[in-house]
């Protein structure tokens, strides 16, 4: 369980551009939640994820993970339980290393990175098996540099690498935004599958309302640093794309956007 309690977040403090993004922001993410987060550009979705992951520090408030106060815990320490896939496919892989090396690197998460051989030969068949499940033919090019793969192939690898070791929370920030519709569909299917299989507590930011409706058990709409819609269970199931679009437009009219 992750709790954001009374979070205040300001940007550009002490300058004329000072803005308050979150003021007394509260959110509780329960174990097993699969939350889709939507909202207009600049509504604070990425900032919220950054606060949870520790890439950003709040000016006030607490972040509690499984009962433990992690407000001031370093970003890399939090990542032991959290896996994150970014919008930019380049963020989740190492371009100058081969597919096999990338897989080996990710497979060792949670263990020590010492002077043992980087690639465990006994695991290569497992890696091949995992890659073949992506259906992109990556299993036949394990010696190729990841930098030579397409964005979609890299993003599929990034998702695989993030979820191959035991984690509790999966954080996805528009992870299909840079992909063509077909690959995006594939990545979303993989996402749904792995979340179910591993029972990951997931937060997924997306601009695709259909994905937000189809995937996830809970839906949050962000607006100017507030969660103005938060629907779970039956309420969420009854949502459809048109209803959401209406909501979206309404907000835009109200704020004159």
């Amino acid at each position: 369980m992750i709790e954001l309690q009374h979070i205040d977040k300001y940007y550009n403090i002490g300058t004329v551009n000072e803005v308050c993004l979150f003021k007394d922001f509260n959110l509780t993410i329960h174990d097993g939640d699969f939350i889709s987060v939507i909202g207009s550009n600049g509504s604070g979705k990425t900032s919220m994820l950054n606060l949870i992951c520790g890439s950003l520090e709040a000016e006030a408030g607490k972040i509690i993970l499984n009962g433990e106060d992690i407000t001031h815990q370093k970003e890399y320490v939090r990542q032991r339980k959290i896996g994150r896939v970014y919008q930019n496919p380049a963020m989740g892989t190492c371009p100058s290393m081969t597919i096999l090396e990338n897989m080996s690197l990710a497979d060792n998460k949670g263990k020590a990175y010492g002077l043992q051989f980087g690639t465990n030969k006994k695991r290569i068949d497992d890696y091949r098996e995992m890659l073949s499940q992506l259906g992109l033919g990556l299993e036949d090019m394990m010696g190729s540099k990841v930098g030579s793969l397409s964005g979609g192939q890299r993003q599929a690898m990034a998702l695989l690498m993030t979820t191959m070791t035991p984690i509790e929370f999966l954080i996805l920030d528009e992870h299909t935004a840079a992909l063509d519709p077909k690959t995006a569909e594939l990545i979303m299917e993989l996402t749904g599958k792995v979340v179910k299989e591993k029972n990951l507590t997931t937060i997924m930011v997306t601009h695709n309302l259909r994905y937000a409706v189809e995937y996830g058990k809970r839906l949050i709409m962000m607006h100017q640093g507030n969660a103005i819609v938060d629907k779970a269970g039956k309420e969420k199931e009854e949502l459809d794309v048109d209803a959401l679009l209406n909501q979206f437009n309404q907000i835009s009219i109200e704020t004159g956007n």
Binding site: S96, M97, L105, Y113, L115, Q116, F117
Partner: protein, 293 residues
Amino acid sequence: MEQLIIGVLEQGFIYAIMALGVYITYKILDFPDLSVDSTFPLGAAVTALMLSNEMNPFLALLASTAAGALAGIGTGLIHVKCKVRDLLSGIIMMTALYTLNLRLAGGSANVPLFNNQSVFDNDFINGLFPEALSSYKTVIIIFIIMMIAKVLLDFYMKTKSGYLLRAVGDNPTIVTSLAKDSGFVKIVGLAISNGLVALAGSVMCQQQRFFEISMGTGTIVIGLASVIIGTNVFKGNLLKATTAVVIGSVLYKACVAIAIEVGLPASDLKFITAVLFLIILIISMDRKKKVKS
């Protein structure tokens, strides 16, 4: 002629050890570390201090490496903990080490070591090499030291820790995602790099049989030139990057030697070094292809 070739190989292999260090920072970590101009003479200063106190010359190699590694850790801490830009961290360390090097050398800018033992001239080595090989003795020993450094580095790059080092220069975000401190990994890389550079300084000091405070000036340029020649000339070949760097270093020293051989005075050395480096940069256009993440 033979004399010339042996000289080029000796110098080339010594600077190759240093270039392997520069390869780590420049190519793998993407960290332009200027402190090598001072960690190279740091290795020499530690060596001069130890040799003039009749200590074991092989121990001096190890101690110099350790001193260089400490300097690398210093640069890393300035960068990671004090959040100083990479280039400036190196410059700060470079400046500070100048004083330290002078102190280590007993306050003098010049320490002759002609009557002291070295790894090239001691009872054990002299007994090992037959008279016929004596003119190749130095180059053989330098080659062995360089190969040990290279093989160890190659091995390290294949370990888990080595993977992480390669990852951090490529994409620091992924190191964080793997729940590892990317700052710490960078510091490890700088330690290994500067350890190698100081080792080269120690070998250089023992080969020349003197320490001179300014012997490190321009080291970074030689290192970068070697790395860029090596990795560009042998790009896409099956050659290991470290092997390419070693060859790059020898090629570079050969170019400089040729320039002097055709009549340019030795006092123009630094100028030749700079012009050659510029030519190499223009030919390879290496900087252009580097994409910042």
